[in-house]
Symmetry: C2
Subunit: 222 residues, 2 copies
C-alpha cells in the first residue's frame, strides 16, 4: 500500500500525471491559456511533446483535469461556514466557485471549455444541492438553481478575466464603451456609464448574485 508499489521497478519516469497537472497550472498562471501548448508544457518539464500523451490522451483531457484540480478544497472551504441561513450558504457556494476560477489566469475559460465529472466538481454540486434540499426546495428547483448559479458565475468570471487581461494598454473595453457612448447616440448608456465602465467586479458579481438569491427567497416553499 505504500506509494512506491504503484510503479513497477525500472527507470523512474520523469513525468507523471500529478506533475504534468501541476506544471500545466503553473504555465497557465505564467503565460495564459493561449500559450499553454503541449510543446511549451513539454519544454517546462524537459521532455518531448509526444511523451505527455502517455499520461493524458488528449490536451482536452489535461484541461479537464485542470478544471477538476482548480475546484480542489472549494467545497470544504464553503462547508466550514456552517450555521448561517440557507441563502447565505448558497451565495457562498457561488462566491467560492468564482474565487476558485479567479485563482488561476484564464481559469473561467479553462473551466467553461471542459466538463469535469470528478470528485471535486461533483462534491461541490452535491453539497450545494444538499443545502437547497434542506432549505425545502423541490429536487427539480435545486437542480436548476445549481445550473443558474453556475452559469451566471462562469459567465461573469469569463467577462471579468477577459476585461482584466485586456486592460493593459489604452483600448480596453471600458474605454471603447466610453468613446462609443459619448457621441450622444446612446443616451441611456450615457446615463448609466459610471457603473457600465466600472471595473469593480466584486460589486457587479454581488449584484447579480443578490438578484438570484432574492429570487430564490421569493420562490421558496413554505
Amino acid at each position: 500500500m505504500n506509494s512506491s508499489s504503484t510503479r513497477s521497478r525500472g527507470r523512474p519516469s520523469r513525468i507523471d500525471s500529478p506533475r504534468t497537472l501541476r506544471t500545466a497550472l503553473e504555465l497557465l498562471d505564467e503565460a495564459g491559456l493561449d500559450a499553454l501548448t503541449m510543446r511549451r508544457l513539454a519544454d517546462a518539464m524537459e521532455v518531448r511533446a509526444g511523451a505527455l500523451y502517455r499520461y493524458y490522451a488528449t490536451k482536452q483531457d489535461l484541461l479537464t483535469a485542470m478544471s477538476e484540480q482548480m475546484m480542489e478544497g472549494v467545497t470544504e472551504k464553503v462547508l466550514a461556514t456552517d450555521g448561517a441561513p440557507w441563502h447565505e450558504r448558497v451565495a457562498d457556494f457561488a462566491r467560492a466557485l468564482r474565487t476558485a476560477l479567479l485563482n488561476h489566469r484564464d481559469g473561467a475559460r479553462v473551466f467553461a471549455g471542459t466538463h469535469p465529472t470528478g470528485g471535486n466538481v461533483l462534491g461541490f454540486s452535491e453539497a450545494l444541492v444538499g443545502v437547497l434540499l434542506d432549505a425545502g426546495f423541490p429536487a427539480d428547483d435545486a437542480a436548476r438553481t445549481l445550473y443558474a448559479l453556475s452559469n451566471f458565475t462562469v459567465g461573469h468570471t469569463l467577462e471579468e478575466q477577459a476585461a482584466r487581461s485586456g486592460e493593459n494598454g489604452g483600448a480596453d473595453a471600458a474605454g471603447l464603451l466610453r468613446s462609443a457612448v459619448t457621441d450622444g447616440s446612446y443616451p441611456h448608456l450615457h446615463t448609466a456609464l459610471s457603473a457600465l465602465a466600472s471595473t469593480d467586479f466584486d460589486r457587479h458579481f454581488e449584484y447579480g448574485l443578490g438578484l438570484l438569491i432574492e429570487g430564490l427567497r421569493a420562490r421558496r416553499p413554505g
Copy 2:
C-alpha cells in the same frame, strides 16, 4: 451616393467584408467554430488565405464582426413587444439574446470570445437599460442588471450548445452524470437526477431567468 461609388474603378474584388462575413457565418453553421479557419474560409471563397487580411486585419476582428452580425435585428424584434409590463420586457431581452446565439452553431462561444461594440450590440444594451430606467431603477442598478442578464444568458447558452453538440454518441454529459451518481456517493444529486440530466434547456433557462426577474421585482424602488 450610389453604391458603386464606394469602390474606384478597376478589377472588381472577388471578396469584400460583407461577403466574407456572410461566408464565415455559413461555414460556422456547417462546420462549427473549430473548423472555421482562415484557410477553410478562403477555400469557400475561392481565394488564398492571405487575401482575407485585406478586409479583416485579424481573425479576432472577423469573429467580432460575426458577433455583431448575430445581433442584427434583435433589438427591433424585442421592442415590437410593446405595452407589456417592464419585467416581461426585460425577460424578453434575455430570451432574444439567447435565441440570437442559438441561431448559429457555437454562437455563444463566438460571442463570449469577442467584445463587440457595434450598433447592434450597443443598441441592444441601450434599449434594455432604457426599459430598466423607465421602470424606475437607478442607473447603477440598470447597468448591473444588463451585465447580470447577459452573463447568465451567455453562460447558459455556452453550456446548452456544448451539451447539444456533444450529445451525439453515448458518452454525453447526462450519461456521465448518471453513471457517476448511481454508485451512491452523491445522494442529493441522485435525488435531483431527473432535472440534472434533463436536456430541456428552455426550462433550465426560464428557471434562472425567472429568479433574476423576481429578484429585480423585489428590488425595484417605489
